[in-house]
Amino acid sequence: MSRRGQALFFAPGMLVFALFVLLPATQTWVDSVVVWKQGRAEWLGLGLYKMALADGRFQRALGSNLVYFLWTLLFEVVAGLMLALGLERNTRWNQWLRVIFFAPAVLSMVVVGLVFGFLFKDGVGLLPGWLNEGNALLTVSLISGWASAGFFMVIFLGGLAGIPEDVLEAARLDGASAWQTFWFVKLPLLREVVYVALLVCFTGAFKAFDLFWVLFRNQEEGTIVGTLLVREFFQYGHPAYGSALSAILAAVVTAGTILGMKALRWGLDRSWRSR
């Protein structure tokens, strides 16, 4: 295929991607440092970023993101790994159970949020009080876990299926217990899959929006950066400040992903090699 042919195939998709993702993403950065007032540009520099870092509400929202990430690590990733280990053997039963545990992952988060909102509704719900302040972040993480543990289970099942039979056979012959097999044989071989799961969980926790928007309109504890910036922009009418928050969120997610990828690979490889 000629160069021109390649370009022709490549261009249309890239154009749509550039116009509706790359361009607005860049524009967000511009909006956070330059403000248009009556047709004149006003240079703000990093003023809005300084303001954001000093803004208690933003700090708490970012903290909530972090806490949510740590809880979902437990309720999504660890729970998913446990499900995968429990359902590893390829019996008919296990196939059915996998289908059931994955099912919530196909539901809209809006549906998940509203249904659990009804279940936990104070005054009438089955488990009233779970969404009250103090429990909010834990409960919302549990809900995420319900929705996504099956998804991580499937990721881990894929990894487990890739472990060569003879390695496990060797462990069996050595008389390794189930726990030893898991800790010394399976987990090190799963590390690529663990990286992926951690990154998916990390980006998911910082990109989150739907559940929080549906369940907590105003509760401070249920405010994360993703919902705060939408409120800043539309409700409070601070487009520039909202853009700065978006830019920070984007930076956190991309930097976290890229650094995380590097650090995980480096750190985990070493620790496993030394064992």
């Binding site: 303001m51 000093a54 803004d55 936990f120 509704k121 104070d122 005054g123 009438v124 009233p128 009080g129 969404l131 009250n132 302040e133 103090g134 907590f216 309109r217 105003n218 509760q219 401070e220 539309f234 409700q235 409070y236 009418g237 601070h238 400040y241």
Partner: protein, 443 residues
């Protein structure tokens, strides 16, 4: 979608036929849904009317007014854009001033939103298009600032803070409706002592109790000082916030929860609609919410679901306090960029005439027209009109009177007082602390 299925296994003629059928289906679907897939018309020669009336009975009234306008001006078709109220308030209102398909006439809230529209140059001065008689139809206090341009025409007034009561519940417990703040607290504590839910409120969105807080505070410090507090011109001190003491007392005495009905703190997770359901279901003795609740009571009655006699009273005063009340005034503005200012105003003149406002009043609406008493027939709205006629200072609800962010700070304080997470000292501290960052953002 399934990987197993393969077109290649079909005989080739059938495959071609299938392909033609598929394309035909796509074309057919595109034709059938062309309306949905169409862009909103970009034509300049239309009157774009943005509002948030979505119930069938409200739409019928608006449609009739549009039809009347259309008979008079067949050359200018009216496009109605009806948003859901929340979508419009939080998103649509701002976005309608961007792009090249802006609204011509739009629904709005008197206060912060109209002020901002005036400042940004989004609103038209309608004075040149209106006669003195036109303006004389409306209650003067509902027209906005009396000096300068006239950019707003009012449709209705809503009292934000009324206390709806379950009269049967009061009666069986031998209680009477309170006349002072002291009595009100005593009655609520007594109800709670008997294991009942004294007050139900859904404060998930913060504004319901925040508006009540504004009224309590406005009455105790006066309207001027309230404004100064909100704008950070005078510091908040625990003494100045004494009016909010009631919220602290409620939280301490557990008036907002009751065993087996609502757990402590539940108020922060319910929406205003949830609280409405609980009150109408007879689960609580009192429900503080605005005059729009009239419509819900009427609906419940019509459906035969109301099993008690409801009553209503306004926030009982403390001795020596100023008379003040929180009221929302809603109406319309015209976009300054409209091509048809005269016709836009003419449309509003028709819509706001007695003919259509009478029908809105029949839905439980409190009209901003002077002749409202003459055409409002339902007992509760009449009681409310009488209340409105009593002299009192008007306080805008914080979220329409001030920037939503200034309102949000106050709302959050009220919400925390109700959860017992703050005392008045803490409230004063937080409110004062927030001022510099609020001022900075407004620049």
């Amino acid at each position: 979608m399934p990987a197993e299925f393969s077109f290649a296994s079909l005989p080739s003629r059938a495959r071609r036929g299938g392909r033609i059928l598929a394309w035909a289906l796509v074309v057919l679907a595109a034709y059938a849904f062309r309306e949905r897939l169409s862009l909103s018309s970009a034509s300049r020669d239309r009157l774009r009317f943005v509002h948030s009336f979505t119930t069938a009975s409200e739409r019928a009234i608006i449609d009739d007014a549009v039809a009347e306008f259309q008979r008079a001006h067949p050359e200018l078709p009216v496009d109605q854009i009806a948003f859901n109220s929340e979508t419009y308030q939080n998103i649509g209102w701002r976005l309608q001033f961007q792009g090249d398909r802006q609204s011509d006439v739009f629904f709005t809230w008197l206060g912060y939103k109209t002020r901002q529209a005036d400042q940004e140059g989004w609103s038209l001065d309608m004075k040149p298009y209106l006669s003195a008689e036109d303006l004389d139809q409306f209650l003067p206090s509902t027209l906005g600032p009396s000096s300068g341009a006239l950019t707003f025409l009012p449709q209705s007034v809503d009292l934000s803070n009324l206390i709806w009561v379950n009269r049967d519940c009061f009666r069986t417990n031998g209680l009477i409706e309170p006349r002072t703040r002291q009595e009100w607290l005593a009655v609520s504590i007594e109800l709670r002592r008997r294991g009942l839910l004294a007050l139900v409120q859904g404060n998930r969105e913060f504004w319901p109790m925040g508006n009540l807080g504004a009224e309590l505070l406005g009455r105790s410090v006066g309207v001027e000082s309230l404004q100064d507090l909100f704008m950070g011109r005078i510091p908040a001190t625990p003494q100045r916030l004494e009016g909010l003491r009631l919220l602290v007392d409620w939280a301490r005495e557990g008036c907002l929860d009751a065993p087996g009905i609502l757990s402590p703190g539940g108020i922060g997770t319910l929406s205003d609609l949830d609280a409405k359901v609980l009150f109408l279901g007879g689960k609580a003795a009192q429900h503080p919410i605005g005059s729009w609740f009239t419509a819900d009571i009427r609906d419940a009655k019509d459906h035969g679901e109301l099993r008690f006699e409801p009553g209503v009273f306004s926030v009982p005063p403390n001795p020596g306090e100023a008379e003040a009340r929180v009221a929302v005034i809603t109406g319309y503005q015209v976009n300054r960029r409209t091509r048809h200012p005269d016709l836009a105003v003419d449309f509003l003149r028709r819509l706001l005439s007695r003919k259509y406002q009478e029908r809105f009043a029949a839905l439980g609406n409190l009209s901003a027209r002077k002749d409202a008493v003459a055409f409002t027939t339902e007992p509760i709205p009449r009681q409310l009109l009488a209340l409105l006629a009593r002299p009192a200072a008007m306080i805008p609800p914080p979220d329409t009177g001030y920037s939503p962010e200034r309102a949000a700070v106050f709302y959050e304080i009220c919400a925390k007082l109700l959860l017992g997470k703050l005392d008045l000292d803490g409230a004063a501290r937080i409110w004062t602390e927030q001022q510099p960052s609020l001022a900075q953002k407004e620049k």
